[in-house]
Amino acid sequence: MNAEIKALLKPEVINTVSGLELVARVIVEGFMSGSNRSQSIGSGQEFSQYRSYEPGDDLRQLDWKMYARSERYFIKQAEIETNITVKFMIDASRSMAYEEGGLSKLHYANIITAALAFLSRKQRDTFGLFTVNNLHTTVIQPRFEQQQFLRFLNELIRVKSEGIWKKDGLEILLDHHGKEMIVFITDLYDVESDILKFISRLKTSRNEVLVFHLMGKHEMELDFGGSFTFEDLEQGGRIKIDTVTEQKKYSDRITHWIQTSRLWMLEKNISYHLIRMDEPVDVFLRKFLIARKNLLY
C-alpha cells in the first residue's frame, strides 16, 4: 500500500481533482479497511424520549423491554447524533512552496487535507476549507452536501503558495458556532508572529484546534553538505552558508523552536503535530488517528 501511495504522490496527480481524491481514498481506505463500523444504526445511542407506537413505525425501533414491563408499545427515540464540523485551514503563503523530494509543503498540506476530508465525509461530518495568504483567501463554508467534497477538492488544487500570511481581515475564519474542529496546516514561518497570534485567536473553549507543522528533512537537519546560497522564499533575502559548519547550530535552533512552539500551544490547549516531509503521509495519518482514538476513548 505504501508503495502504491508513493507512486501516486506526484505533482501531476495531486494537482487534479480526481487524482487528489484518489490519493485521499487510497490513503484513508488503507487504514480504514476492516474498521467498517456503521455510523447510522437506529437513530443513535443517546436516549431522548419514548412515544407511543403508531402504525407505520419501524418495528425495529420498538422497545420490547418496555413492552414486557407495561404491555404497551413504545417507540424509543434517541437524540439525533450531532456530527462535528471540521474546518481545514491552510497557510498558503509563499514559504509553503518549499520543496523536498519533488513535492512542496503545499502539496503535502493538500494531501493531508484531502485525506482527512475524505475521512470526515465517511463519518458524515461537515467540513470546510479556508486557505489564506495576503493575495487570496479561499473560503468554503462547512456543509454536508454531496458536492461538498468535490467542491472542496476543486478549491484545494487551485490554491497557490504566494505572498505572505494575511494579517487582518480574517474574521470570517474566526466565525465560530457550535462544536468544531479546526485543522490548521502551516510551516509556522511568519512575520512578527502573525500566525501564532492567529492560532491563539482560533482557540475557544468549545472547539478543538490541531496545528500541523510541516517541516522538510533537509530543512530540519541542514544536511546539504557544502556551501550554498540560501534564499528566503517570502522575503527574498539571500545569505551564504557553509552548511557543514552551521549544521549543528542550526538543527539545535530548529529543535528549540519546535519545542517552544509545542509548549506554547500546549499551554493554550492546542494540539501540535509535527509532520516531517520524509515521513509517508499515510504513516503519519495512521499514527495521528490512533493517538487520537486512544485520547478519545
Binding site: 514559504s95 509553503m96 512552496a97 518549499y98 520543496e99 509543503k105 510551516d187 514561518y189 530543512e219 546539504f224 553538505g225 557544502g226 556551501s227 550554498f228 546560497t229 540560501f230 534564499e231 528566503d232 522564499l233 517570502e234 522575503q235 533575502g237 539571500r238 545569505i239 551564504k240 552558508i241 557553509d242 557543514v244 559548519t245 552551521e246 547550530k249 542550526y250 535552533r253 530548529i254 523552536w257
Partner: protein
C-alpha cells in the same frame, strides 16, 4: 623541449572543461530556496574565503591534471635537462678557411655553435693547433662521449681515415663532407735513358685512385736517375730451375721498372765471399753464407702463405721451392719488387694524394626502420614516468581536496 605527438596538444582545449564547470557553479551558486532564513546565520567571511580558496585550488588541480595528461599523451620531453645545450661545429684541419664552408661556419657560429677541430681532444679553432684526423670513427666515439646537443661535422672524408668498424652516426650529429675534385699527381719520375723519363702518375677522385706509367721526354719533367741494382743468384744444380725462375722474375722487373738490373748467376760453390752485389739470392739446401753482410734472400722452407718473409733487417726467406706455378700463384715478381725497391716516399706521396672519399650518405643514413637511437627512447620513457607520477599525485590531491570541500 620536444613533442613526440604534437597533435595531442589539441587536448589542451579540454582545459576549458574545469574552467567552465567552475564558472557555471559560480554563476548558479547553487541557490536553495527555503521557507525562512530566520534560523540561519551567515557563515563568516573568513571561513567562506577559505572555501573559495579551496574551490580555486580544486580548479587549479583539475587544470593541472589535464595539462599533465596532455603532456603525457603528446610525449613532451626535453633533451636539454641531461645534455648540455652546447652546440659544436667540428671542422677538419684545413677546412676552416675553405671558401665553400665559410658561410655555413659563420652562420653556425652566429647560432652559438663553437668551432672545434676534428682532432684528438677537439681543440678550439681559434687556437689553430690540430693535426688532420687519422681515424674518424674514433673521433665520433669521442664526440658521443661529450654528450653535446648538436654537432655539425665538416670533414673531407678521406677513405683511409676511416679505420675499423663502421658505426651509426648518433642523432645529434650531422656530417658534411667536402666534395673532392679529380686530382692528378706524379708519384715518381726516373730517367731511364738520355731521351726518356719513366713517369708514374696517379689520378685520384672520390671514387678511386688509379696509377699509370708514362714515358716522357726529359725536358718535360724533372726526374732523378734510375738506380742500377746488382744481384747475385747462387744456386746448386738441384735448384737450377728455381734460379731460372728467379732470373726471369728479375728480368720482368728490369723491363717494367725504370731500374736496371745487373744479374749474375753462379753455382753456390762458385760463390766468393769477396763478391759484391746489392742482393744475394741463395738457392741451396746448404745454409746461407754467414759472412755475407749485404741484403740476401735465401731458401728456407716454411709452411706460410707469403712466398717471401723477412727474417732480419737485411735477410729475407724464400719459403717455397719455385716452379712456374708457384711463382705465378704467389706473385713472386711483385713480392720481389716490393723487397728490392722499397719506396716509402712514393707510397707516402700516393697515400697523401689519395682522394678517395667515404660517401657522406654512408654516414648519415642507416637503416631507417630502427632509426630511433636507444638513448632517445630511454629519454622518453623517463619523461613518461615523470608525467605519470605527476598525474597520479595531482589526481590524489584533487580527490583529497574535493573530499574535504564536501565535508
Amino acid at each position: 623541449m620536444e613533442l613526440t605527438n604534437p597533435i595531442a596538444l589539441w587536448g589542451l582545449s579540454a582545459l576549458a572543461i574545469p574552467v567552465a564547470i567552475h564558472l557555471l557553479s559560480l554563476k548558479e551558486g547553487q541557490v536553495i530556496r527555503i521557507g525562512s532564513l530566520r534560523h540561519l546565520t551567515e557563515t563568516n567571511s573568513r571561513q567562506f574565503r577559505g572555501i573559495r580558496l579551496n574551490e580555486y585550488l580544486l580548479l587549479l588541480l583539475r587544470m593541472l591534471l589535464i595539462l599533465w595528461l596532455v603532456f603525457f599523451i603528446s610525449g613532451l620531453h626535453s633533451n636539454t635537462s641531461t645534455l648540455q645545450k652546447t652546440k659544436w661545429v667540428v671542422l677538419e684541419k684545413g677546412l676552416e678557411n675553405d671558401k665553400d664552408f665559410m658561410p655555413l661556419i659563420d652562420s653556425l657560429q652566429r647560432d652559438h655553435y663553437e668551432a672545434h677541430y676534428l682532432a684528438k681532444n677537439f681543440p678550439l679553432v681559434s687556437t689553430g693547433a690540430a693535426y688532420p684526423p687519422n681515424n674518424y670513427w674514433m673521433l665520433i666515439e669521442e664526440l658521443k662521449e661529450r654528450s653535446l646537443y648538436d654537432v655539425v661535422i665538416i670533414a673531407s672524408n678521406r677513405m683511409n681515415s676511416f679505420r675499423g668498424q663502421r658505426i651509426p652516426l648518433p642523432d645529434n650529429m650531422r656530417w658534411i663532407a667536402k666534395p673532392t675534385t679529380s686530382h692528378e699527381f706524379i708519384v715518381s719520375a726516373r730517367q731511364t735513358s738520355k731521351d726518356s723519363v719513366w713517369v708514374r702518375t696517379g689520378k685520384s677522385d672520390a671514387e678511386g685512385t688509379f696509377f699509370e706509367t708514362l714515358y716522357k721526354s726529359p725536358n718535360q719533367i724533372q726526374a732523378i736517375h734510375s738506380d742500377t741494382l746488382s744481384v747475385i743468384i747462387a744456386n746448386t744444380s738441384k735448384f737450377e730451375r728455381d734460379g731460372q725462375i728467379m732470373r726471369a722474375a728479375l728480368r720482368t722487373l728490369d723491363v717494367s721498372l725504370p731500374h736496371h738490373f745487373h744479374i749474375k748467376t753462379i753455382r753456390t760453390e762458385q760463390f766468393n765471399e769477396k763478391d759484391t752485389a746489392d742482393w744475394l739470392i741463395w738457392l741451396s739446401d746448404e745454409s746461407y753464407p754467414a759472412a755475407w753482410n749485404g741484403n740476401a734472400i735465401y731458401l728456407h722452407r716454411m709452411s706460410v702463405k707469403t712466398i717471401l718473409t723477412q727474417s732480419t733487417d737485411k735477410l729475407w726467406m724464400l719459403t717455397h721451392e719455385l716452379n712456374e706455378e708457384v711463382a705465378v700463384k704467389e706473385n713472386l715478381t711483385m713480392a720481389l719488387a716490393a723487397i728490392l725497391f722499397p719506396s716509402p716516399q712514393e707510397n707516402k706521396k700516393a697515400a697523401e694524394e689519395d682522394k678517395r672519399m667515404f660517401p657522406e650518405e654512408w654516414l648519415n643514413s642507416y637503416d631507417d626502420a630502427g632509426s630511433v637511437p636507444e638513448k632517445i627512447i630511454g629519454h622518453n620513457t623517463h619523461w613518461d614516468q615523470l608525467w605519470f607520477v605527476f598525474i597520479l599525485v595531482t589526481l590524489v590531491t584533487e580527490r583529497i581536496v574535493a573530499f574535504k570541500r564536501n565535508q
